[in-house]
């Protein structure tokens, strides 16, 4: 028996992907920022000594100083504190709405791709119809019906953001549903549910990771837009969009008031987008060098 040299240890798909991602400095930096934002969102009450909602009119419109690093708003509330609490809204809206969207998108995409035929035609038609709506206008209409509020934001953005996921999943399922291992499962008596959950889902996870990561910044921006328009969270809840909206009349006199929430949105959205790009490079085998 000849000895074969084991030159390379076995590494899983995700381990390889992680290695690729780890070498991408920009993506890693963004991941770090996102981790930081997550920590801020979770531990917001412990990071600041101020109440985000209690007003102190005597302290209003303070420019950034040692007491209030980002200054205070027109009610004398600490802007940094409100940005911390706004982070909770933004991240939760981003993540929860994208989970809803992915779940919906996955099942509709998988059903369309796997069952084919008439099911596919009907579901594809629905996907086409939904994706033809202008997203922001549609979400304004939905929020108008549901009324303002955080849970309604999750639902509105979740219910509207699934079409791109569904399309990608459908394409992926069409590609792999005729593979031998799936045929073997079907021949062996595997139910469609078993095929969908056990064989198709793992293959779709990379796509889901990428669409969620790239969907989150869109959801955050939509939340900010809706809150800016007064259709998002109700006052006094701090949201970056509503903060900018409140600051708008003062943009000439107290620029910092709108500047900091604006920066927070830019940084968060950019981080998610760049991380999403990095993830796509890492997870797509075709892009691996």
């Amino acid at each position: 028996m000849s000895k074969r040299k084991q030159t390379q240890e076995y590494r899983s798909y995700y381990q390889v992907s992680w290695d690729i991602l780890r070498k991408n400095r920009v993506a890693m930096f963004c991941l770090l920022i996102i981790l930081m934002l997550t920590i801020i969102a979770i531990f917001a009450p412990y990071l600041t000594k101020y109440d985000p909602n209690a007003t102190k009119p005597r302290d209003r419109f303070q420019s950034p100083n040692a007491e209030h690093p980002f200054g205070t708003d027109q009610y004398g509330r600490d802007i940094l504190t409100r940005i911390f609490y706004g982070c909770r809204i933004s991240l939760s809206v981003g993540i929860i709405s994208q989970l809803i969207a992915s779940l919906l998108g996955y099942f509709i995409g998988v059903c369309a791709g796997y069952f084919g035929g008439r099911t596919d035609s009907v579901l594809s038609f629905i996907i086409q119809v939904f994706s033809s709506f202008p997203f922001l206008l549609f979400s304004i209409a939905v929020m108008f019906i549901l009324g303002p509020g955080l849970v309604n934001l999750y639902i509105a953005l979740g219910l509207l953001g699934w079409t791109s996921t569904a399309r990608l999943i459908r394409g992926e399922v069409l590609r792999i549903k005729n593979s031998e291992y799936i045929q073997a499962c079907v021949v062996g008596g595997g139910s469609p549910f078993r095929v969908i959950m056990k064989h198709l889902l793992p293959n779709c996870v990379p796509i889901l990771i990428i669409t969620v990561t790239l969907g989150i910044p869109n959801a955050i921006l939509s939340e900010a837009s809706l809150s800016y328009l007064g259709l998002g969270v109700s006052p006094p809840t701090a949201s970056w969009g509503s903060m900018i909206s409140e600051a708008q009349p003062f943009i000439r006199g107290y620029t910092y008031y709108s500047l900091f929430p604006g920066l927070a949105i830019i940084i968060t959205v950019l981080s998610f987008n760049l991380l999403g790009d990095g993830l796509r490079d890492a997870l797509d085998p075709k892009l691996r060098s």
């Binding site: 007003t55 009610y75 004398g76 109700s234 006052p235 009349p249 003062f250």
Partner: protein, 520 residues
Amino acid sequence: MKKLMALLLVLTMAMSVASAFADDAKVLHFGEINPKVGYDPQTNTNSRATTIEECVVEGLYFWNDQNEEIPVLAKDFPTISEDGLVYTFSLREGVYFSNGTELTSEDVKYTFERMFTPATGALSTYMYNMIAGAKEMLAGEATELSGFEIVDKYTFKITLTQPFSCFTKNLGIVYAAIFPKDACEAAGSDWGIGTLVGTGPYILGEHDNSSVTLNKNPNYWGSEPHFDQIIVTLFDDENTKLLAFENGDLDLCQVPTDLYLQYQGTETANKFHIYYPLGTVFLSLNLSEEFNGEKNPLADVKVREAISMAIDRETLVEFIDNGLGTVATGTVNPAQLGFVQREAYPYDPDGAKALLAEAGYPDGVSFTAQIRSTDQPDMVQIQSDLAAAGIDMKLELVDAATWTSLRNAGNAQCEWMGWFPLYADPDNNIYSYFHSSNAPGKSVFYNNPEFDALMDAARISTDDEERGDLYAQADEIMSRQDYACIPLYYPNYVFAAQDYVTNFTVGNLIYQICYDVDFK
């Protein structure tokens, strides 16, 4: 080619003539937020549109900046019959509309009949519907106003269904401006949009979504207008408007109170002037026993008193409103009939908590306020004050249209309200809001027979001293005993005028730019 050259030459000449004219012309540049309504005073009540309308059309009487009523198209104040029902008016003779037709009693009759014709969609009929026959017309049962009698070309009689002490005062509002019959009929639905003809000092010229040009009426019956032209530039944004003022593009404009602070210490602030409108800002409360199928805590007078106690009005006015206001001690404004200087409302969060416990709410109460984005500054501050006393006021941000329909349907629980009378008489703001015949339409549902009786008596009485007394008593009951609303402050407003603008004052909300204002 030659033709084209000739045309160009003519054009250049015409333009140079025009610009020469423009150089010499005395033009007032006024800046205003676009009212986005037409300029028919019967079908809109927008004070921004009113500013423009008052340059073009005139009524029988007029409320000037000193809040005094003066006869305009009427020669004098009417003679009133013993029973207070028949008013006899004499028109000023020889007054011509800017289209050349003479003003006669026919035009006045036409104006009122137009107002009461349902198809017109007039908004302020409640101020004039005590004229006999008005209600029939509004119901579509009649096409002629039975209470209007033309005596001769310049004399007419108006009969009321009941004595109403404010009738002549209501005629001083631009909603009763007199239109020329023939021109208004010819214009049809274009009246107030493309066409508006009146007896006023200026003639409506070119106007679109960005500006309105008002040209001097050369045949104006009164003293000569001060300007050759008034150009009203319409803006969508307050900051842009103020930038235009700073640049010197505007001579005159209003300053929104929230932007007042950022100009403090700048040179522009020296051009700011404060005025005192006649209204009061208050929290409007829904007093019905049930709201949305649940027990309404606001129905309890102790809860309402607790809300009043929990609000730090001084801080609200001094900081959130930049000191532009006076803390209210009642709902009647200091410049109104029936105002009495009372003690300030107490501010006592602990007392508020005790009152709540007494009312059976030891753990505090919760209710929802429906607000528009413009109400947010005051309401966020009040929300924070109330929270400190265990009162949870939720804020529901809605658009203006939803807000209005919620209120009209009685489905609003609490709102921020700046309520302004059109002239200094409480009948116009207190009766129209809190009398039990009107309160449901404002989502208030206040019903105290004692208060109603005082307000009704003041409507009939013609003695202003007695009326003032009645209003003082009514206000005491409503604002200090029943807490039917929570008065907050009497707001002050601000306008900006360049140094060379003279004689400019604002009486109450409406900018009267066509009479006294002049340049140095």
